[in-house]
Amino acid sequence: MNSVIEVNDTNKAFLNISQVDMVFPTPTGGFTALKNVNLQIKKGEFISLIGHSGCGKSTVLNIVAGLYQATKGGVLLQNKEVNEPGPERAVVFQNHSLLPWLTAYQNVELAVKQVFKNNMSKGEMKEWIEYNLKLVHMDHAMDKRPDEISGGMKQRVGIARALAMQPEVLLMDEPFGALDALTRAHMQDSLMEIQNELNNTVIMITHDVDEAVLLSDRIVMMTNGPEATIGEILDVKLERPRSRLSLAKDIEYNRLRSEVLTFLYEKQRKVENISSKAVAPNSVPRQRINHN
């Protein structure tokens, strides 16, 4: 009971994104990317942000990371305001952003040395770096540089680097977007396995409906920009551990999947058509026919 009350009380949420507006200055005046974004996240929750390109998903993530400052409103992490980037909100970037002159081990080491310089001995650091690389199954290629390993492996090292910071929130910006479908599935399984062990609080941006349903506890669907905001939130109450094979035939899984699809390709498309008046009314059914 207590936990339910805590969740409902926005002041006590683990991570609280509160009334966030984001206006970017442009030569022709301000561009309002986000309008009144509100989201409360529990500890240990896995959240997916999904929406069409340019809807401001990355902007939300960057505000939580502290890389952007919200124009209005703000982010509270454990009731402390977020106003600069920091290792307690580790980011896994879309294109891995490993330092190309360092090996996998050294890339993780840079983070560990910075975060734990005061409370770990050299031996403990080494152990911790190796533990994290093992977690993402990269212990066999610790001494390889980024240009010597595949895209999926780079992303693994990126995740290991973020996990090694022992973040309170793990932020992932389309972590598997640049990977091929098979590698992506493999990475999703790895991520579920890690999540099962560490139970991190995660916000992940994705374009992939299956990925969102498979991995998340809640799927946050965003409306189209400008003035994008949260459209709907979908609870995913599928039992863990989840397996993509058995879920493929699961009724609940398919219902959730179609809800996300409906939001993305019907509700958000409709909004688009209404706002652009140049489109003739009878063009909507025609488009549908084309799709079929």
Binding site: G66, L67, P87, V91, L99, P100, W101, Q114, V115, R145
Partner: protein
């Protein structure tokens, strides 16, 4: 059927061998044969042209005359070395004799003050250009990093850099000479004034390509890498040491190579006017000397200057290959 397949596989293997030979042949042609052909054509055009140019110092030197002067320059060097050896032997003998007579005698050591040979002058030039370049690098690279990190600093300094960049060494030299004579006053100078003047002129001219390339390299670092640094909250010195410098190393080296070739070009002009005993002075002295061999000796110096410049650039390239993580940027 089986015999046909055997034939085909046999055929392909001979074809492969042929292909291999062709590849090796192409490689040799490209790396050895064609450059040789180019050099031969150049040499014959040179000797033909030289024969038809008559100056007040005689015929313009062809390749043969230059080769002859090379060997005579070498002979002079050997002769001068022998003279120096003989001088020091005489000096030692005299000192030993005096010590025998008077045990309290403090031995006098005098340096040999013979004529500098061509090879001594090459060494002087190399020392001057390397010290001038190092001084420039010590100033330019930190300045470039600093300018690259801050847009404001870049706006403040960029006009100055752009204005000084095209200034010829010949314009700086009189100023540097006067400043050095005014400020560098010492009874027992560590280095000669002419060396200092040439070195500073070299520095002033080779500073700019390094500043510009370093600042461009630093300001164009991938924003993702900068975000990594921000998320980690790296302190400024760690940020510069771990992110900024490695990321801009390829551009820093591009700047260094440009600067070094500028430095070598500037040096010859600076030595001519400052009378620093290097290759520039050699050329000037031969010109003033005006003997029938002078032009051939100057031409020999030209060849040596070009060859050393080439070797210096290759040296920088090797250094870049060793130091930089980005091997792809370390190309000719």
């Amino acid at each position: 059927m089986s015999s046909t397949t055997a034939n085909i596989s046999h055929l392909t293997s001979t074809e492969q061998i042929m292909k291999m030979f062709k590849n090796i042949f192409n490689k040799i042609t490209n790396s050895m044969l064609l450059p040789m052909v180019g050099i031969l054509i150049f040499l014959s055009l040179w000797s033909i042209a030289a024969q038809s140019i008559h100056t007040s110092l005689g015929e313009f030197p062809g390749p043969n005359a230059v080769v002859k002067q090379f060997s005579s320059l070498y002979d002079e060097h050997v002769a001068e070395q022998k003279k120096a050896e003989a001088f020091y032997m005489r000096l030692d003998k005299r000192n030993a004799a005096k010590l025998e007579k008077n045990p309290n005698y403090v031995a006098k050591v005098r340096a040999y003050t013979g004529k500098e040979t061509f090879f001594d002058q090459i060494i002087t030039s190399l020392v001057t250009v390397i010290s001038g370049f190092l001084v420039a690098a010590i100033i330019a690279i930190p300045l470039g990093i600093w300018m690259g990190l801050s847009k404001k600093l870049n706006s403040a300094f960029n006009p100055i850099v752009q204005i000084f960049k095209p200034v010829s060494p010949l314009a700086w030299l009189p100023l540097v000479t006067m400043v050095v004579s005014a400020l560098y006053v010492s009874d027992d100078p560590l280095v000669s004034k002419s060396f200092l003047t040439s070195m500073i002129t070299v520095s002033l001219c080779s500073l700019w390509p390094m500043v510009i390339n370093t600042s461009i390299g630093v300001s164009s670092i991938d924003s993702d890498l900068l975000n990594v640094s921000k998320v980690l909250r790296l302190p400024t010195h760690t940020h510069i040491q771990k992110i900024v410098i490695p990321a801009s190393i390829p551009m820093i080296f591009t700047g260094m190579r440009l600067s070094f070739s500028v430095a070598w070009m500037v040096l010859i002009a600076a030595e001519m006017l400052a009378q620093n005993p290097g290759l520039g002075k050699f050329v000037w002295d031969e010109f003033q000397n005006g003997s029938s061999d002078s032009l051939a000796r100057i031409m020999a110096a030209v060849v040596v200057i070009g060859f050393i410049g080439f070797l210096l650039d290759r040296g920088m390239l090797q250094l870049q290959r060793k130091v930089s993580w980005d091997k792809s940027s370390a190309t000719v």
